[in-house]
């Protein structure tokens, strides 16, 4: 697996129409674009800091969003944050930040602090869940969240709530029975779901040809009676456009969309992995050249959406936030051993 294949791009980059920049065509203004860039860079910067802290021995584990930033930010900007549901997976730091998880909260999780709003330090980093942001709690077993998301969307439909549910996962997750059972159920009931596959070419060490028969995740949509759309996951605007259409469909009662956003995992699978055993330098370099962040940066400059100065300002702001989050979170209290027995069942007074 070496090059990103664009199986079917149904939306995005409609280049024609004179010289109107793509973002204007999509109805996005300067402020929004700068904000998108901010979140992409914030995700990357926090992620890099997490690795640093891991190497310093301050956190036993990191799992990374690097290479996925354009997907995660593009998707979030195309739905209604605060109203729509998300079932992210462990790479979705960028999604959670866009939805409102603060850098301090991210670092509370990274250090497994008592105040970690995701799990109180019970789960590993990357296992998100914040009810106030409609981010549904996730686990480690791959693909289980697909079924939950379908249930969330079923409930929305039953209650008549105008909510879209975004369920994200890797391409490895598409091999699981839960993936299939969920797409089938969503298709039968025409549920307002966006199945977001962040295809980063590997499931730990296993490359796409050994994972996905036929090679294309998007091609599977048709078999369930709804569109499967492949987009360049390193291009935030393309992801945005495809998600916008998927969300429109969902809200209009037209049913689910399977969105395959193709990118590359820029780091090892996690801090426990050694990716030199299964992939080569050249492949990584080739993908480094297509990185989402420099690409979008260039777009902003080329199209006069941001100046170098503005971008430097954004970076400065982010650096400060990352420093603050790190320093602050590191000294927050750790969980108490005795609290381990809490929250297994509801307190007696809430029970029947």
């Amino acid at each position: 697996m070496s090059t990103p294949t664009k199986q079917k791009v149904e939306s995005g980059s409609r280049k024609a129409k004179a010289k109107q920049p793509r973002h204007e065509e999509l109805g996005l203004g300067k402020e929004q674009l700068q904000e998108m860039y901010y979140y992409m860079l914030l995700a990357r910067s926090l992620d890099e800091r997490m690795w640093l802290l891991n190497r310093q021995g301050k956190a036993p584990f990191v799992i990374s969003c690097q290479g996925h930033e354009a997907i995660q930010v593009g998707v979030c900007f195309a739905v209604e944050r605060g109203k729509d549901w998300f079932l992210p997976y462990y790479r979705d730091l960028g999604i959670c930040l866009c939805l409102g998880m603060t850098p301090r909260e991210a670092m509370l999780q990274h250090f497994a602090k008592q105040a970690d709003p995701n799990s109180g330090g019970r789960q590993m980093p990357g296992h998100y869940g914040l009810k106030r942001l409609k981010i549904v709690t996730g686990s480690s077993p791959v693909a289980t969240q697909l079924c939950h998301g379908v249930g969330v969307a079923l409930a929305s439909k039953m209650k008549g709530d105008d909510e879209v549910t975004v369920i994200s996962h890797g391409e490895g997750a598409t091999s699981k029975g839960d993936w299939h059972e969920s797409l089938n159920m969503a298709g039968i009931h025409n549920l307002p779901v966006i199945f977001l596959c962040e295809n980063n070419q590997y499931a730990i060490s296993v490359p796409v040809p050994q994972q996905v028969a036929g090679g294309s995740v998007a091609a599977r949509g048709e078999g369930y009676g709804f569109p499967g759309v492949a987009v360049d996951g390193t291009d935030v605007l393309e992801v945005y456009a495809a998600t916008k259409e998927a969300a429109r469909r969902a809200r209009a009662g037209e049913g689910p969309t399977l969105l395959e956003a193709i990118t590359y995992r820029l780091t090892a699978h996690s801090s426990d992995d050694n990716d030199r055993t299964y992939r080569g330098r050249e492949e990584i370099d080739m993908w480094r050249a297509k990185e989402p962040l420099p690409k979008f940066r260039q777009y902003l400059l080329d199209n006069g959406v941001a100046t170098e100065e503005e971008l430097a300002e954004i970076k400065k702001r982010i650096d400060a936030e990352v420093n603050d989050a790190t320093d602050w979170a590191e000294v927050q209290p750790n969980p108490e051993a005795s609290d381990a027995t809490k929250f297994i069942y509801a307190p007696a007074e809430e029970r029947a």
Binding site: V150, G151, V152, L154, D178, F343, E350, A352
Partner: protein, 327 residues
Amino acid sequence: MAVKTMIEAIRDGLREEMERDERVFVLGEDVGPRGGVFGVTDGFFKQFGAARVLDTPLAESMIAGAAIGAAINGMLPVAEMQFADFSHPAMDQIMNEAAKIRFRSNNDFNVPMVIRMPYGGGIHGALYHSQSVEALYGHIPGLTVVIPSNPYDAKGLLKAAIRDPDPVIFLEHKGAYRLIRGEVPDEDYTVPLGKAAVVREGKHMTAIAYGMMLHHCLNAADEMAKEGVEVEVVDVRTISPLDRETLINSAKKTGKVVVVYEDNRSGGWGAEISASIAEAAFAYLDGPIVRVTGPDIPAMPYNHAQEEFFMPNPEKILQAMKDLAAY
């Protein structure tokens, strides 16, 4: 009070909860027009419509997982596994997801859902329509596992399960569905989760059981009474979390304990009951804690002779009680 069968009591309880609270809905295979393969949801499709009586695709993991999601988004799903034997594909969703969601989210999320599963043998169901699964689910903290033995408890426990804010596995013995009858009040009531019941008092020996086996114990206790041995019979009712207090108190009172379960012996739920008593009531025991159980064979055979061989029954229990009484 009307006399009802188990299945009628369960059906009534479920229907009343659906009438009481719009958030309650059922999902599963063949629960719709067919009314469930045992008829528990008979008439529901007509009364509540397709949206609240949802025929799902044949996909147990999705059934459990979608119930979790619906519960998170404000509904109160009651999922049906057509047979407990087919719940295995959903074990990941039940054990790793439903059971752990409140805990892993540090109380941010909870999953108010019920999964009903017909279980148990003696009905010519063979290997895959006869299984007992309470030991598997009972082992997982975060789940509440319930097995009613009579119509009154079945209805009251089911209502309590539906109103409970956490996931409940509700196991219904197939052999008891139409066989076991009992009085059920018309008015609304619940039976509390987590409480065993002493259903027959006695001073010489304690028999602990649940589901269909409870009735076999009561039969055997009747026989023992004729010989002057008063057997106290305890209905576990909630498998997990286990009401150890009631079990241990009875063991302390009588000093002799028979634990009966239909599941195969090794690692069956009665092992936990026995171990709990061996640990907490040792000084009071006048004899070994005896188990009467299904044999350690992979599953219940279809043919009659071997099925009978598998099932504990009043005779087998009576023999064990006599032996223990003579200890």
